[in-house]
């Protein structure tokens, strides 16, 4: 059996009467990259703080790299963890390189390695010697990502790492993320921007109101959500009337196209049966946003 990086066993967390996380089971294996999606207040940050030992669970058991985060082995565990907090806050009076030197020393890392990481996240050299208080949001986020990579962590917990970043920075963030995954790190990243997670994560965990709604790869989630892909076709201008008859049941949509829904397993058969007069075909798979919306519409909220 492969060792698990993160195991949550029926974990709950309440603040007074408010339930932030309710009986969540979650397992992450080594090298896995998992996206944690949900609205603000869905319990994503609470879950990450439970994994770090910043919060004590009200119920259930948390194990990260084989240790209880709030127990005696918590410090040993945190040596191998990289954390990027939501709404990154750093010490404004320290310069970029001083910030890295401080955090590097806490993890027993060298300043040389800290400088390498600043290069890797693309923080300009002149900015590294300026006080963090003068940084733009993008520069702060880069610096925060650099500190999360200190000590070659085996587990990366990234809370809303791309919020507030412009598209170019987002791209470079995911490029760095891919190199981290290639190094074998387990990555958990939370987001409410679902679309950008497509193609970047192995698995997606959908959270709502502290509960786990769904857990699986994107095609599994699409199936669970009960949204079928759609086919769109456009007939050639010269198409005979018989061709239109062959597409009976297809509904006209914008751009002179016809659309029908079609189960994933029937797509190939459906395409084969299309009349010759069809000039163009598109396959529309539901995006993550649609899948998420479908889960939230389910009254029981269960997957």
């Amino acid at each position: 059996m492969t060792p698990r990086s993160i195991v949550l066993d029926r974990v709950s967390k309440s603040f007074g009467r408010q339930v932030a996380v309710a009986e969540v089971d979650l397992t992450l294996g080594p090298g896995e990259c998992v996206g944690l999606v949900g609205h603000n207040g869905a319990g994503k940050s609470t879950l990450i703080k439970l994994m770090l030992g910043l919060l004590h669970p009200s119920g259930g058991r948390v194990s990260v790299l084989g240790e209880n985060p709030t127990g005696g082995g918590g410090a040993r565990m945190r040596r191998q963890i990289g954390y990027l907090p939501e709404n990154v806050a750093l010490y404004p009076a320290l310069t970029g390189i001083e910030t890295m030197a401080f955090y590097a020393a806490l993890k027993g890392e060298s300043v040389v390695r800290a400088r390498e990481l600043l290069d890797r996240v693309g923080l300009p050299a002149d900015a590294a010697n300026r006080a963090v208080g003068t940084y733009s949001k993008g520069m702060r986020q880069r610096l925060a990502l650099a500190q999360a990579m200190l000590g070659r962590p085996r587990v990366m917990l990234l809370d809303e790492p791309t919020s507030g970043l412009d598209p170019a920075l987002r791209q470079s963030f995911y490029a760095i993320l891919r190199t981290l995954r290639a190094d074998g790190a387990t990555v958990l990243l939370s987001s409410h921007a679902l679309a950008e997670l497509e193609g970047e994560v192995d698995r997606i965990v959908v959270m709502n109101q502290g509960r786990k709604l769904a857990d699986g790869d994107l095609s599994t989630l699409r199936r669970l959500a009960g949204i079928t892909p759609r086919l769109r076709a456009r007939l050639a201008a010269t198409a005979p009337a018989s061709a239109s008859a062959a597409l009976a049941g297809w509904l006209p949509v914008a751009g002179g196209m016809l659309e029908c829904s079609c189960a994933e397993e029937d797509i190939v058969a459906r395409l084969r049966d299309l009349p010759e007069a069809v000039a163009a075909v598109e396959i529309l798979r539901p995006s993550l946003d649609e899948v998420y919306a479908a889960f939230l519409r389910r009254p029981d909220g269960a997957a």
Partner: protein, 273 residues
């Protein structure tokens, strides 16, 4: 232990960078020098050393000033980092929570010790140079106990900082604590003693009540600390009644450091970040 010293070093660097160290040192030196020269002027032919006079006036000043400076340094320590959001990231590193509290304590007390030694030292040196000097024992005791008094209020400040959820409450509470220990406690005690007319509250009880306030323990320690100072501070006649030895007073002050510090660590361990 390494994280503790890293955090202490960061506090000292912060203190140097935001001019806290400079401001506190300059303030203490200014007050101390002013008191030393104004206070020493009228002694003239009195048979006490100029330094003893300085000790008496400086300890009266310290009782007000040092707790205030210490609380201002400390009230923000935990709740400030929590409110600004830097605490979560710090605790996600391999750092134990007691190391955060003790690290900040070492840094803050280091700043206070530096400022006190330098500020008061300047006054002591100036007095020693311009007069025939006097007893350095009392002066050394003043500096050491002043640092201890500051440390006690830094620790009390941490208790406040770990208890509350926002900086404004912490600041309010810190001022309240300062008022109670420095002003209200003594007035209330005096009021009770006057009302009681010595019927039920004996000297022993009063001694204990004085130990329950770090500022009073500090006052007793300095005003009755050495024979020369005792003479000048008017405590000589009281010496028979005061059964508290300097050792007991110093121990009380030390307990006022250790107790609140331990409490702050325990509260911080339980805090949800």
């Amino acid at each position: 232990m390494r994280p503790l010293f890293l955090i202490a070093a960061k506090e000292v660097r912060d203190g140097l960078r935001n001019r806290w160290v400079l401001a506190v040192t300059a303030l203490l030196a200014l007050f101390a020098l002013t008191l030393a020269f104004l206070g020493a002027a009228p002694t003239g032919t009195v048979k006490t050393g100029a330094l003893a006079v300085t000790v008496v006036s400086l300890s009266s000043l310290s009782i007000f000033l040092l707790p205030l400076i210490a609380l201002l340094l400390a009230f923000d320590a935990i709740v400030g980092e929590w409110e600004r959001g830097t605490l979560g990231l710090l605790l996600a590193y391999p750092v134990a929570r007691w190391q955060v509290v003790l690290g900040k304590f070492v840094g803050h007390v280091g700043i206070l010790a530096f400022a006190t030694a330098l500020g008061y030292g300047a006054a002591g040196a100036a007095v020693a140079l311009t007069s025939d000097g006097g007893e350095w024992d009392g002066f050394a005791l003043l500096v050491a106990s002043s640092v201890l008094l500051g440390a006690a209020f830094v620790a009390i400040g941490y208790v406040i900082s770990t208890l509350v959820r926002d900086r404004a409450s912490a600041a309010g509470l810190a001022i309240g604590v300062w008022l109670v220990f420095v002003l209200i406690y003594d007035m209330a005690l005096l009021g009770v003693l006057v009302a009681d007319q010595g019927r039920s509250i004996g000297a022993g009880v009063v001694n204990w009540l004085l130990l329950l306030n770090p500022a009073d323990a500090y006052r007793m320690l300095n005003l009755a600390g050495t024979p020369d100072v005792r003479l000048f501070s008017g405590m000589a006649g009281l010496a028979g009644d005061v059964r508290l030895s300097p050792g007991a007073l110093a121990t009380a002050l030390a307990l006022w450091v250790v107790g609140p510090l331990a409490a702050a660590i325990v509260i911080f361990q339980r805090r949800q970040i």
